[in-house]
Symmetry: C2
Subunit: 609 residues, 2 copies
């Protein structure tokens, strides 16, 4: 058999692989095993590499996972690409993989006009002929006549001007001067986006001059120690005397840690961060600003603050430049937060002629329906199933979670980060239940049938997975021998009930929005699925379980981290901040609890299609 030289970059490890073997096999030979969550079936799309040299034509699976542009650049799935000549294989940089595809170029098409800008200026020193005050001198430098200058800035002004011989960089925003730095520091102007999730706090460090993302990272929201979800945290605030202060403090500390991590990754300094944008659900926004969110706990669920606000980084205790600004985007309602505003910024629903739907699924699903004419939003209390909580083997979409399930003769699955599974996350659960529905193991009502009730055509490998668990039927997804913790991963009858409630809430919410908007669901031309969940979710499975109305399967677009992307847009363009302000006013909030017939619709959507 003819052998070809395969060089794996960047390490330069070289092997000789037989013609027709896969690049993945060559990688194993080189001691560089690639992620192959689907077992090398071309299904999971995790083994993307870039290949230079003869590797044959892309397979159908590759065309499925990679854009024509990416294929043109040499991106391939290692499990499908076959060695057909000497090759160079560029293995992905782990951090690059994380960022790749996560954002759809947030700065694209934006005219850069960041929240905070820098201008270098050489001022004339004062003289008896020009006795202008230091303040007037710098304001004139910016072409401003007057401004309510913060005393903290004025305190630093005389020394900075004189030490730098009146050659300084002025830091300014829309409202005027924020700070003055000696010399020319225009090359260092950084911004941050914080995406405050109930479970995860994500941060993105951005170069405000180029608009480029320098680093992204996330930390666990340690408020979870005082309540896993919003409702429990609200109870904590109402119960504990210093509850609000505790949650606020824990959050700020975690964000400062996140800032450190991002700065470390990008090798930058916190004092160069002058701008920051915060998005998040309304409760998190309140906790960030130290506002009492208690009124979100009871009807009519009104927030304390809706409008966007700009506060100083120093006032918030954030370790950015002390003159830096933090802009908190506005929210829409008590359970439709600024993250939803950011999703609209990113998906452009407010600029679309066609009617579109954006869904950001979490413990609360937020939905926005509409076009540039009108936008409706609601929050659906889906419950925790989509986040893998209160599911027998559930976990969130983190390393170790089964995030995709495939049916071949038997069950196959992919695990986030590879290795043995520890549990199953929302998208995996939806895949699994879709398969169980498709095979008839679970019926329309959500019941797991007993072996005797099943269609005889069902593969015996599947039937063998049925067992009894706590007095009900259950499906063995992964036997104990194949899991990380040596406990089986099951789909129980309770798990399916939880999923039914969750999908029923979202499906009913879509119905309500469509009715309020006066359209049939089929009229919706595009469905954006935002967030990590939306990226992992298999649209076919979502359709199969009835999460998405029939007919919309082909119209689903994963929107990536749409909230973070919208936040970056706002950071890079003041017009986007204004747009966010208008959106928060324009979007009509639909309170599902107040919609006549909502509970009937919800009950009807609990069954599977």
């Amino acid at each position: 058999m003819k052998k070809y030289r395969v060089v794996f970059k960047p390490k330069g490890i070289t092997v000789f692989a037989g013609a027709g073997s896969t690049v993945m096999e060559a990688a194993q030979q080189a001691g560089l095993p690639l992620e192959a969550l689907c077992g090398g079936m071309g299904n999971c799309g995790k083994c993307v590499v870039r290949i230079a040299g003869g590797a044959g034509k892309p397979s159908a699976e590759e065309k499925n996972h990679l854009a024509p542009e990416e294929l043109k650049q040499g991106y391939r799935l290692a499990c499908r690409a076959k060695v057909g000549g000497h090759l160079e294989v560029f293995l992905p940089d782990p951090s690059e993989t994380k960022a790749k595809g996560f954002f759809k170029e947030p700065g694209k098409g934006l005219k850069l006009h960041p929240l905070v800008e820098k201008t270098y200026i050489r001022l004339a020193p004062p003289s008896l002929e020009d006795q202008a005050a230091d303040s007037s001198r710098v304001l004139q430098g910016l072409g401003l006549k007057s401004q309510n200058l913060p005393p903290s800035l004025c305190r630093k002004l005389p020394r900075t001007l004189r030490e730098a011989d009146f050659k300084v960089t002025l830091i300014h925003d829309e409202r005027g001067l924020l700070g003055v730095e000696p010399g020319d520091t225009t090359a260092r102007n950084l911004g941050l986006v914080f995406d405050l999730g109930t479970t995860t706090l994500a941060g993105y460090l951005v170069d405000l001059t180029s608009g480029k993302l320098l680093a992204g990272d996330a930390v666990h929201n340690r408020q979870a120690a005082h309540g896993a979800d919003i409702i429990t945290r609200l109870a904590f605030v109402r119960r504990e005397k210093d509850g609000l202060q505790i949650l606020h403090r824990v959050l700020i500390d975690a964000l400062n840690e996140l800032v450190e991590m991002l700065l470390g990754k990008a090798n930058c300094r916190g004092e160069d961060i002058y701008a920051s944008v915060v998005v998040g659900n309304t409760c998190m926004q309140h906790l960030f600003l130290g506002l009492d969110p208690s009124s979100l706990a009871y009807t009519p669920f009104v927030p304390v603050l809706k409008e966007g606000v700009t506060v100083s980084a120093a006032e918030m205790g954030l370790k950015l430049n002390e003159d830096g600004l933090v802009h908190v985007l506005p929210n829409i309602a008590g359970f439709v937060g600024s993250d939803t505003v950011a999703v609209i910024l990113s998906t452009g629903l407010d600029r679309s002629r066609a009617t579109k739907l954006a869904i950001d699924i979490g413990t609360n699903g937020e939905l926005v329906l509409g076009s540039r004419e009108r936008l409706l939003a609601c929050s659906a209390a889906a419950g925790p199933a989509f986040e893998g909580a209160r599911i027998s083997s559930g976990m969130r979409a983190a390393p170790g979670a089964i995030n995709k399930v495939f049916l071949r003769d038997d069950i196959a699955f992919s695990v986030i980060g590879g290795g043995k599974p520890e549990g199953i996350c929302g998208s995996g659960l939806i895949d699994a239940v879709a398969i169980l529905l498709e095979t008839g193991i679970v019926n329309k009502r959500g019941k797991i049938l007993s072996p005797g009730e099943l269609d005889p055509s069902i593969s015996p490998q599947l039937i063998r997975r049925l067992l009894r668990h706590q007095g009900a039927n259950a499906f063995l997804l992964v036997p104990a021998s194949q899991t990380a913790h040596r406990r089986p991963i099951l789909i129980t009858q309770e798990d399916i009930r939880g999923l039914q409630l969750a999908k029923g809430a979202i499906a009913a919410a879509i119905q309500v929005l469509c009715r309020c908007y006066g359209v049939q669901a089929g009229y919706v031309e595009e469905v954006f699925l935002a967030g990590a969940f939306g990226s992992y979710l298999n649209p076919k499975s979502a359709l199969r379980i009835g999460l998405i109305p029939p007919g919309l399967g082909e119209r689903i677009t994963p929107a990536g981290n749409a909230a973070g992307e919208g936040g970056i847009k706002a950071l890079l363009s003041r017009r986007e901040i204004k747009r966010a302000g208008k959106l928060a006013e324009k979007v009509e909030h639909v309170e599902l609890a107040a919609f006549p017939g909502f509970y009937e619709l919800f009950a009807a959507e609990i069954d599977f299609p």
Copy 2:
């Protein structure tokens, strides 16, 4: 002799006084001696009382001291008014005397539009049909769409709204909402003016709803412990590591003490003070804001900050309402402060068709010349003589100071607060020197002549007062037996030198301003003399010593506490604050040190006319 009943109010003490006796004599009879600094000659104007009943026609002296309006209301000089029927005599409330005539009705003619206003509003509570956020609800109540709300305000919002059943008072300024109070508190809206002098810190408590002055008071500027004048304090800041912080802290503490005093007097609460305006010289303004004033110490004397700024009371550590605002008026130059801007607001130079001059005399004299076409300002380093410093028996215009000197057969004088004198203040010194010039005891060059050199017509009582002191001639104003401290009060040759330097600096400054403006001094139609000094100063004496150019004597108007009055105007009307901002830009600063020929002019003005 016919006797009439004279009742002294408010105590109700009654005496029967002979027809034709003076009210002052009746008061002595009642054991209620009145201040009679001039010995009851109708000269000092200190014995003002209000009389109901027959007291004859006002004398020439009374017409001199009291406005027609005051005479109509029954105000009289007790030493001149004669008992001609049964009388009620209203003795002045000591605190009222202090305020009376001090301000020329600061709110007069102003459309009240105070810095901070209150609006009572009954909001609809939220419901499922009206889920507006607390913030949006109150902003709608004010007719505002959006605003950058301070988090501190939002923190209090939900509880205040709910405890008051959504009936609240909104506190707002031009830029939007500042605070929310439960119920209707519109009747309690107070403001403060701080006039920051180098020696004295004055404060005025004002009712922002009615525009009325509730209380005025002053405390010693305890920064004096670190330097009696600006130059010494600047040296302290530059020498001591924490000098700036020390002076800032001492100032804020003293202002808080002043606030307490004012609140006590008016029986009000600090939490009802939402607005405050600060005027003062540029150095004091810098120390108030914690800005380093060091650059005022050397040429070209530029300040750090010129523009007006609004800061929060909480940020400044002032014990007003924590959401309250402090507006610091803008300054004109390093030695022409916001107190001068306030003097212009109060005297209306910027609205005058005619060319006018305003002089605020202290250690530094600030002068403004011009009309609505153009305004010029300068600072003249008069030295300390006008404030009674570095004068052998000098003291500032405080109780115990001789503030007026009269010539009869012999010397007579009035003492602030009555009693035996402790020293002499600026206006007294000017009177005394004017008399010595008029009598020929002092010649044009400022020399105190020896008895042998004098004109023989001079009263022997005056000649007897000439003596030798430290090797030079001196004039004995008050012998030791008649002073509070049993030391004589002298006018020494050195004192006259000090006064010559002081008056020469002011007179030269007037010359420079007139030259820059392109007019002769005689062209000036009105001369405002601002401050306590200006009120005590006898215009004839000022002319006699050459402080004011010849021909302007009849055109002098004492402007009272013009700086404080201008501050109150700004507090009561946002238009005045805007006017102040424009003034600071419009007024052209003339740097005397840079004016060609200034020192020659100054030297020429040292001689007396």
